[in-house]
């Protein structure tokens, strides 16, 4: 782990005012940019083409960014030999889209896990709880690479004291397993974790059809990824929450925004409905025509930065998602730093499975 990341993991993840955060974040992100330009030749070539001059860069917003599509087209690595790779993370599956390749070494993978635990604990606490995974058991079967959906489940499993899968292999509810889980959890607290689309289609919709009322009021649901599919089905976030509350009493529901290229430093949505950048990550919203920064409230393309990627140059990425920058240090929830909304997917962008590798 780098000194910068270690230092930031020592303090609560949303505790620095934006100016103080920038003072720590910028030098760390600049160092990471230099590091990758030394260790990854294609990246160095890109920086040269962009005429990037580290000496003339003084703010995080001036750092270069790569389009996320590049990680589909190329394998970019800053690790010296192939043998060093612990694994490669892939995010794919939506019909017709390409796979994202992210090369992870041991250090970066471990940093991602620590960061995820650090950020999530701010929302759900650090205690390990029984966890019901709203997915099928075989999702964790070993393969050559790890899908982002499996990686997400594994990442959040660090918070689990006991893991039970809620779905059978055919995506139907495993009711006996769920009943036994609820009985043992004895009212809670307990965790539920799943990908947004899976939660909606195979948990919420199935429970609505079931004559049996199951009580999940003691549960904390964490969901992320794949929500764009819901927008396609015209399910707004409020409807998602309301339906879950109605069908099984769930009311503690946390959405997170993240991507395979920056696993670990995820953006959680607070009670006020805003996504928050922790001290390990940063966000900008840019105009499509010239990549200049949008004003607060003006929709644009989301750019995300993370201090975690060291085995590949994925620390500054222009996403294919549309968002709105809301402000810094001003969220009613009290968390400091920047907050934003994710409003959709860019129209011209190729549909891509972030974590929703299930194409159903």
């Amino acid at each position: 782990m780098t000194k910068d990341v270690a230092q930031l993991l020592e303090i609560p993840p949303f505790s620095l005012p934006q100016a103080a955060k920038e003072a720590l974040f910028f030098p760390a992100a600049l160092e990471l940019t230099r590091y990758h330009s030394v260790h990854c030749e294609p990246y160095a070539n890109i920086l040269r083409a962009l005429e990037f001059d580290p000496e003339a860069t003084h703010r995080t917003r001036e750092l270069p960014f790569l389009p996320s599509g590049l990680f589909k087209a190329m394998r970019l690595s800053s690790v010296p030999s192939e043998q060093e790779y612990a694994r490669s993370l892939t995010s794919s599956g939506t019909t017709g889209s390409q796979t994202v390749h992210v090369e992870l070494d041991r250090e970066t993978a471990a940093d991602q896990q620590r960061a995820l635990a650090h950020i999530a604990a701010d929302f759900i606490g650090a205690a390990r709880l029984p966890m019901l995974i709203l997915d099928q058991p075989s999702i964790l079967a070993h393969g050559s690479g790890l899908s982002a959906r499996a990686a997400g489940i594994l990442g959040f499993s660090l918070f689990a004291r006991r893991r039970v899968f809620a779905l059978r292999e055919d995506f139907t509810l495993d009711l006996p397993a769920i009943r036994m889980f609820l009985e043992q959890a004895n009212g809670g607290p307990f965790l539920l974790f799943g990908f947004t689309f899976m939660v909606w289609k195979y948990f919420c919709q199935a429970l609505r059809k079931s004559p049996e009322h199951l009580d999940f009021s003691g549960g904390i649901l964490i969901h992320g990824g794949g929500w764009k599919k819901l927008l396609d089905q015209a399910v707004p976030p409020e409807e998602f929450r309301r339906a879950l509350n109605e069908c099984c009493g769930l009311h503690r529901i946390y959405n997170y925004y993240g991507m395979a290229e920056q696993a670990g430093s995820v953006f959680f949505q607070c009670g006020a409905g805003r996504f928050h950048a922790s001290e390990l990550s940063e966000v900008f919203v840019r105009r499509a025509e010239d990549f200049s920064l949008c004003e607060p409230g003006e929709p644009g393309i989301l750019q995300v930065l993370s201090l975690l990627p060291r085995s590949y140059p994925g620390h500054s990425i222009l996403t294919e998602d549309e968002g709105v920058f809301l402000g810094a240090d001003d969220c009613p929830c009290g968390r400091l730093g920047k907050s934003f909304w994710v409003t959709g997917r860019l129209r011209q962008a190729q549909p891509r499975g972030c974590s929703d590798v299930y194409a159903g």
Binding site: A86, R87, R106, A109, A110, Q113, R114, A117, A121, A126, A127, R128, L140, H142, L154, G155, S157, L158, F159, A160, R161, R162, R163
Partner: protein, 77 residues
């Protein structure tokens, strides 16, 4: 069985390694991936009847470091 023997058993069973190779075990190297990690933690909890918090689950990143972690929970290995 001593605590050390029980501790070693968990690793040997889970990772299929010989006793002399135990000190070299490091998280995210070889078979010790995050899936096995959670298995291992659960086995340690069951074996020693303790409950490890999420911070220590992450800090438990090698065979040697694990001994230190267990000491926090009153288990001398």
């Amino acid at each position: 069985m001593t605590h050390l023997e029980q501790y070693n058993q968990v690793f040997m069973k889970l990772f299929g390694v010989a006793e002399e190779d135990l000190p070299a075990l490091i998280y995210l190297r070889g078979n010790w991936d995050s899936l096995q990690h959670i298995e291992m933690i659960t086995m340690m909890e069951d074996t020693f009847n303790i409950s490890i918090n999420s911070t220590d689950v992450i800090l438990f990143n090698s065979y040697e470091k694990g001994k230190e972690i267990l000491r926090k929970y009153g288990v001398e290995v």
